[in-house]
Every structure is written in C-alpha cells, then in structure tokens.
C-alpha cells in the first residue's frame, strides 16, 4: 500500500534514478537491441560532392556471400521525398517571406544525382555486418562528376553549379524581420557611432557520442512494423515516415527510442536510413539493422550553424543602442532537413533584440543550397547564432565608441519586467531581470579587480582578456497556433499521462524524451511532490509510441516547461477525481476535501481523512463509489503553452593568449543563468556545464571544413574534427538568479541550451580583448585555434 512522503522534492538535487543502469553497462541503446534473424544494412554513398548517376551495377555485389538483397532509389517505387516540416511561403501568409521556400525533393535513396559527399544511392542487405559492408564496396556506380559548391558565400553567386531544378540560383528562400525604414533612420541619427562587422558562425557537427542507429522489424503475421531508432521524438518520426514518405498505416507502426546517447538536435530529424531500413524490412519481411560509423555520422547527421553575417550597430553619443542591422546568408546544405528553414529565420531573427532596449532592428536572411550535408537544428538552433551576432557587435560598438563593454551593456538592458515585453522582432518576452544576473556575474568576477590585473599583466607583455555575453534564449517551444502561423507543419504541445495503479503506485507516460536530460528523475520529483508519495512509487516511461500518448518530444529546452506541465495537468485531474471518491468515502462534499501530504481530508477536520492509496484502491474496486464517476484513476493531458519562455543570463570568460604560439587558455569561466524555477539544481547545473563546453568548443576548436575544390568533408572523423577535451576546460563557476515565468504554473523556463548560446561569444570576445593591445578590434572567423590566433597576432599592427 502506498505510503506518504514528507519532503518537498521540487528544488532538490535528487541523485538520478536512471544512473544505476548506465554506470553498470546496462543501458539499452538502439545498437544493443538484438533480434533473431536480423539482417544488416550498409549504404552505398557518393564519394563525390556533386555527380550525376549514370548507372548502378549491383551484379557483383549480389554474388558476394551473405548478401541478401540490394536496392537503389529506382526500386523504391511509391516512396516519397523526406518531408520538410516548415513551409515559408507567401501564400501561406508566413510573415517575412521575401522569396518562397524552394521545396526541393529529398529522396531516401537518390537516383538522379548525388548532391553531397555521403549522399546514399543504394543499400546492401546481408546476413552479417561484414558481408553488408563488403557487398557495398562491390556495388559499381558509374558517376559523372559535376562541379560543386560548398562555400556559403559562393553558393548563390552567379555561375555557381546548380543543385536543384526547383531552386534557381541555389536560393532556398529569402526572409526578413523587423522595420527596415526605422532602422535606416536610426543609422542616420546625427552623431551616431556606427560599426559594421562581418561575423561568421561556422558549421558544426553535433557529435552525440552515440552514433545514429535503427532497427526495423516487420511482422508479416500482424502487419506491424517496429522501429527502434535514435530519436529525440519518436512520434514525430512515426508520423513523418508513415504519412509523408512510406504511406503506411500509422497505427501499425511502433517507434521505440530507448536509451539514446545524446542528441543535441541531430536526432530530431527523419533521416534516409531509418526510412530505407523500414521499407526494406517490409519488403524482405526480415529485421534490418543499421548503425552509423562515426565517419558516416559526420557525413549524414544534420550539421548546425553555418551563417555568414554582416552586422551593423548604431550607438548614440550616450552609449544607447539606436539600431541594429543584420544581413545573413545561411547555408542549408544539399537538401532541406526536417526543420531546416525555421532555424535561420524564426529561431534566429526573433532573438536579435537580445536583452537590450533596441529601438530599431532589421534583419534579412537568404537561405542557400550547397553541396554539403544538410544543416538543421543543433543545440540552440538559431538562438546561438543570434546571440553571437548581438554580443559580438555590441562589444565592437563599445570599442568604437570608446566605452567599457560592461558599462555599455548595463546602460542598454531592458528594465526588470514580468508579464510581457514586446521586442522589435515579433516575440514577446515573458519575464526578465537582466541587470540582476549581470550584477551577480560581475560580483563573482570582481570586474574592476580583473581590469587592474589585466593592466599589470599587459605591462609585462602578457595577453589577458575578458569577454562577456548577456544572452537571451527562447525555449519551451512553443504555442502551436503561433508556430503554425509561422509555417510549422506540426503542433508543439506535449502530452502526459498519469496512470495510478490500484496500490497507489504511479506510472507516468510522457511525450518528452530523455537522451541525457534526466526526465526519469525530474518528472518523478514533480509527481511525488504533487501526490505526496515517495519517489520510489513513481515510474516514468518515455520513448515508445506503443505506450505513450502522441507527443512532440524533446528539443528547444521544452521538456520541463511543456512536458512537465502536461504531467502536472494530469496530476491535477487525478487529484480532482480523487477528491470526489474521497468525499464519497468520507461522506462529505468534494468541495470540502483538501488534498495534501498524500491525504484527502475534510477541511478543518484532521481526523476525517483517507490516504491516496485507499482512494486509488477504491477507484479500481468501486463497490462503495460515488454516482456518475467512472472507475479507474488515469488521466491524460495535452499542454499547449501560451508563449515561449525566455531564459537569460550573463556569462564571462577570462583567457590568456600565448603571444608566441597563439594558444588560448581559459583561466576562468563564469555563468549566472536565470532559467526560472529549478526542479533539480544538480541536473540543471550539469546541462549548463555541458552547454558551456559545446559553446567553448565552437569558439576554440570545432568546425566542419569542406575542401573548396573537391567538396570533400575534410573534418570527417573524430581525428580531424576537434571536440573539446577535459584539459581544455576549467571548472565552471556557476550561479543562478530566479525569475519565474508567468507562462506555466511551475514557473520553469528551460535550461538545455543556455550554456551553448552564451559561451561562444564570451570566449571570442575574450580573445579579442586579449589581443586589443596589439590593435586587434575584431575577429571574423572561428574557431580560435592557435594557428588562427597566431596569424592574427602576426598580422596585427601593434604586434611588434
């Protein structure tokens, strides 16, 4: 029988309940699932960045021992293009569209031409992994290599090789936001200081440690297809695959995303491989498994960022920001990935207001196709790019105006508010106290003391620098109606089902998905608190369309705020129903029943009470039961938020640059984040740490590099793509301010992406500051590798 818990768990650093299986090697990731009769898929991929397919000869490969079947795009008749779930078109009244999105096809196996290195053209199915790979090597493709373009700024230039018939000039779309005329006027203000800089946000690869994988099993007898896949959102995978690509009945498909080893956005999207394996499994009536090698992952996981921007800021004589003008070219890669068009538009332009009171903003974005891997959301998705532009150009402006970078920011913060702040770029912020987080950070840093130290160090010839970033982010994505009006093909609510068992034990089914976020702990804290039961009596189930209600999954820092709220709503319904049952048992009226500490009690009569477990038992053995109430105790809710939530914060990074080698060393990293109320501080801190590391990674070492001539991905392995390692990073100094959001009842905003958004500009600003004595006032490109910094030092006018 259920017992009663006493302590409130909301706000406590409960140790994670999922950890015992991971630390003992008993996690179940997709590649760990084995089923009898399994076949293995290997994909034949384009070695060229751009090439027409003349002919594919599979005869020799078919003769290879162990090979079961080979399919090309031509075999997959009746199969449609992978869908793009965001439609920027004027006829859809999507705001800001200047040129309609070119909805170019993206076939699971391309049969006319390959448009990037790694584009799959055939699949070999074999009895063993080795035989599949050997077979794939024997498939002969007669290629006609074509000229390729990979460089963002050249993709839409005249004479660039064309990728798609449906996209003249390789332009995917043109879009704008803000007020052009007001911005032009702001830049003409008498006495204004204006600065224009080119700011490049390089292409990244998400690099979740677990490579993507899938296992499709078609059951001939029942007609059911089960797909295990590395997904952040199994229902989205199911819907897109069934309704758009394969045209198979959704209710006969079960998608399971078991333990997933990190996502960072890259596992949101529907990819070629899972579609092909599902199709093949139906065709061969055998299970088909595929697991990406890391090299394959580099070529096929959606990449992130890849923006080239001209940013301009106008400052008044008093240091107040007058206007911001932004022109961005966003490289979308060879095809439109699932949510690609949303990232450089509505997730980017809408965040350019930052934490500042900027009277006029205008932003134009051109999306372009190139012979590179498709680009889509990567941790932060659009928001890091916006924050990077704002926080770099604000510092450039401060330097040009001869003002302290910290003072200038403080002068321009939007004053504390709760409820609504209308930005110049459509969105309405929910609550903020930007100055408070900033002041706390400066205090932890001891800013004036640092400047004195820096001065002393400079006299000795040492290059010490500090960089700041005051960021804002939009998360808990988002109101369905709003995103629908902006071109989304999906709703963005979340589901939560609470099943109370007769004994008072509780199983919760959530549409959110955990791939490291710790839902099994955080959500259980919410449930245990609300029902007043020990956390041990709560189980959280996620990631299986066979058991969870239709849900949208995890991205955009939405699990606690959207998924958690859906669970809370169901808990409230459970309690309401419980009150009616308890009232009947206690011979009182439901409105006179209070529920607290796991007890239903008649108000003001402590002796007249029944515990939660007695009510749940009665619900399933309804002998003595109120009229008109259904037996059972199980509730489902779908929560659609009324607005985004906008976490914010202030980060600072202190670096020392080695004058001789150009090596950048991080001496301190400080982060004060405001993510609203916090359910589990330990977990939130962990996300902040991980986010910072990814942001620092972009600033210092990461970058996907294509060879401009051949179009080959030069950084195609972990040996070539530099991921941040433990010895590059310091212990992070973190703290929080708490400004709850009025948007949802728990007041939680979201914490998954803050660090990534904030860290990159903080680090790069710090390097610029360190090099300031040499006359450096801006750095266009990342990462700040020793080589790049060394070159900058050599080229600086004050170098000697």
């Amino acid at each position: 029988m259920a017992t009663v818990a006493s302590d409130r768990l909301f706000g406590k650093s409960i140790k994670r309940r999922e950890d015992p299986r991971f630390i003992t090697g008993r996690g179940q990731y997709v590649d760990d699932v084995k089923i009898p009769g399994m076949t293995y898929a290997a994909f034949v991929r384009s070695p060229h960045a751009h090439a027409r397919i003349r002919k594919i000869d599979t005869a020799a490969a078919m003769r290879h021992p162990g090979v079961v079947a080979i399919f090309t795009g031509k075999d997959m008749t009746g199969v449609n293009s992978l869908p793009c779930g965001w439609d920027l078109r004027k006829e859809k009244n999507v705001p800001g569209v200047v040129q309609d999105l070119a909805m170019v096809p993206h076939m699971p196996l391309t049969s006319d031409a390959a448009r990037h290195v790694g584009d799959p053209v055939a699949v070999v199915i074999a009895d063993s992994h080795e035989a599949a790979i050997d077979g794939a090597e024997k498939v002969q493709v007669d290629w006609e290599p074509l000229p390729a373009v990979t460089v963002t700024e050249r993709a839409a230039a005249s004479g660039a090789p064309k990728l798609h018939d449906g996209a003249p000039g390789n332009v995917a779309f043109k879009w704008e936001i803000g007020d052009r005329a007001a911005t032009d006027a702001a830049f003409k203000t008498a006495g204004a200081v204006t600065v224009k800089k080119r700011i490049v946000n390089q292409r990244l690869v998400a690099n979740a440690m677990e490579p993507r994988a899938c296992l499709a099993r078609f059951d001939d007898a029942t007609g059911e297809l089960t797909l295990w896949v590395t997904s952040q959102n199994p229902h989205v995978h199911r819907l897109l695959m069934c309704a758009f690509v394969l045209g198979i009945p959704e209710h006969k498909v079960r998608v399971i995303a078991p333990d997933v080893g990190g996502g960072f956005g890259s596992k949101i999207f529907l990819y070629n491989e899972e579609v092909v394996c599902s199709w093949v499994s139906r065709r061969l009536k055998r299970p088909v498994r595929w697991t990406a090698s890391r090299s394959e992952a580099y070529l096929t996981d959606a990449h992130g960022r890849d923006h080239v921007t001209d940013a301009e800021i106008a400052l008044g004589r008093d240091g107040k920001i007058l206007g911001l003008r932004v022109k961005t070219t966003a490289n979308l890669g060879a095809y439109l990935s699932t949510f690609a068009p949303a990232v450089p538009t509505f997730l980017y332009g809408t965040l350019l207001n930052g934490v500042y009171a900027i009277p006029a903003i205008h932003c134009e974005v051109t999306g372009v196709f190139s012979n590179t891997t498709a680009v889509d959301a990567y941790r932060g998705a659009g928001r890091p790019e916006a924050c990077y532009v704002v926080e770099r150009i604000v510092e450039a402006g401060a330097r040009a105006a001869g003002m302290d970078v910290a003072d200038l920011r403080k002068k321009n913060f939007i004053p504390k508010f709760s409820g609504a702040f209308q930005t110049q770029v459509a969105v309405v912020y929910d609550s903020g106290d930007y100055g408070a987080a900033w002041d706390r950070m400066l205090q932890m840093l001891d800013y004036r003391k640092f400047r004195a130290e820096q001065e002393a160090a400079r006299k000795q010839g040492r290059l010490l620098g500090i960089g700041f970033s005051a960021y804002i982010e939009a998360c808990s994505i988002a109101p369905s109606k709003l995103v629908g009006a902006l071109g989304a093909g999906a709703g963005l609510y979340e589901s939560g089902k609470v099943r109370v068992h007769p004994t008072g034990m509780v199983t919760v089914y959530t549409g959110s998905h955990s791939h490291g976020q710790g839902h099994e702990t955080t959500f259980a804290q919410i449930v245990a608190d609300k029902l007043g039961i020990p956390i041990e009596q709560v189980e959280i189930v996620h990631g299986d369309t066979g058991s969870i209600p239709f849900g949208m999954g995890t991205y955009g820092s939405r699990s606690a705020s959207v998924g958690g709220t859906a669970i809370l709503m169901s808990l409230n319904k459970v309690i309401e129903k419980g009150k009616r049952i308890a009232a009947h048992l206690l011979e009182a009226s439901p409105k006179d029943i209070d529920f607290s500490g796991g007890q239903f009690q008649v108000k003001g009569v402590p002796g007249k009470a029944v515990p939660f477990g007695a009510v749940s038992l009665t619900a399933y053995i309804p002998h003595n039961f109120p009229e008109g109430v259904e037996p059972g105790l199980e509730e489902t809710s779908f929560y659609d938020p009324s607005n985004f939530c906008f976490p914010f914060g202030a980060h600072a990074c202190v670096v020392e640059v080695d004058r001789d080698t150009g090596n950048v060393k991080i001496l301190r990293y400080l982060a004060v984040d405001d993510v609203g109320n916090v359910i589990n501080p330990m977990i939130v801190d962990g996300m902040v740490h991980g986010g910072i590391a990814q942001g620092v990674g972009q600033a210092l070492c990461e970058g996907a590099v294509y060879d401009g001539q051949s179009g080959q991905l030069v950084t195609g392995t972990m040996m070539d793509y530099a991921l941040p390692k433990a010895d590059m990073l310091p212990m992070y100094e973190t703290d929080r301010t708490v400004t709850p959001t009025p948007v949802n009842p728990m007041g939680v905003k979201g914490a998954g992406e803050t660090g990534t958004i904030a860290a990159t500009p903080a680090v790069v600003n710090a390097v610029v500051d360190a090099l300031a004595p040499l006359g450096v006032d801006h750095i266009e490109e990342m990462p700040m590798t020793a080589q790049r910094v060394w070159k900058i030092i050599q080229g600086a006018k004050g170098a000697r």
Partner: protein, 158 residues
C-alpha cells in the same frame, strides 16, 4: 577463414571461432553479448570502448579479437561485485558525472586505471589523464568531481 579465440571476460571463459578482422569491441558486444562497452568512433578517439585487458585500460576498438586470445578482460559489467557498486561507479552517480551515459562505461574503465596509478590525482592530472575519453554531455566538470569523489572513497590498498 575463421580462427579460434579463447579469453576470460569478467571471470567467465569464452571461446569462439571468429573472423581474423573482427574487432575485439565487436566480439565483446556482438559475439559475447556484453553491450555495456560502446562504440563511439572509428578512429580510436572517443574512448567509449575502453576495457581492462590484463589489467591495462585499452580501447577495445584498437584490437582484433584474435589479439586478445588468452587475455583476461574486465568490462563495465564486471566492475560491481556482488551487487556492490565500485567507488568509481558511486562517484559518477553521486557527482552527476553522466548525462546520456554513452561515454560512461569507457570513462569508468579508464578511471579505474587512472586511480591505480595515481590514487590521489589533482584536477590537472585528472583532466590530462582523460585525454583519451570524450564526453559530449557533461562538459567534464562533474566527471572531474566524480573522480575526486572516487579517489577519496577507494578502499585503502593492502
């Protein structure tokens, strides 16, 4: 052509006929069925596949199964004894040294050797010793703390 291999993994002996090109990590995962050892890369950078072979922390993707013939191997599954977590495992749990958990088995096995060599490592030494293990989730902060916790809680050597 297949070759016979025989080895001890977590105190159990196994013998199979394998293709000479079969990697040890695939042998452990696919043939023996111990899936706690992970594969995160194909260039021996990530360390997710780290195991102990004859007492040395090695990357199991760097060996062919046939090279491990006769070896004594411990994987993550063999670390907890009689249901008792090892202090390193407890440290990772206690200090939130993992998020998605994919790098964790390799991390833990590599820390096993680190603490044998350096029972009381400094932060700097820990970071340096983690050279061969990548984690994309934690930013390493809590991994360092987990290792410090484990170092404090390791039973004294006899």
């Amino acid at each position: 052509m297949k070759l016979p291999v025989k080895m001890t993994i977590n105190d159990q002996s196994y013998s199979h006929e394998v293709e000479p090109r079969l990697l040890l990590v695939h042998y452990i995962r696919e043939t023996v069925g111990l899936t706690g050892t992970h594969v995160g890369c194909d260039t021996s950078q990530c360390g997710a596949c780290t195991i102990l072979m004859n007492g040395q922390a090695v990357k199991a993707c760097n060996f062919f199964a046939v090279q491990a013939d006769g070896a004594n191997i411990m994987t993550i599954e063999g670390l907890a004894k009689d249901g008792e977590l090892h202090p390193i495992q407890m440290g990772f749990w206690e200090k939130h040294g993992l998020q998605c958990g994919f790098c964790t088995p390799g991390m833990i096995m590599s820390v096993y050797q680190m603490l044998e060599r350096y029972p009381k490592p400094s932060e700097e030494l820990i970071r340096h010793q983690l050279e061969g293990n990548l984690c994309r989730c934690t930013g390493y902060h809590n991994i360092v703390k987990a290792i410090e916790w484990a170092a404090e809680h390791m039973p004294a050597k006899k």
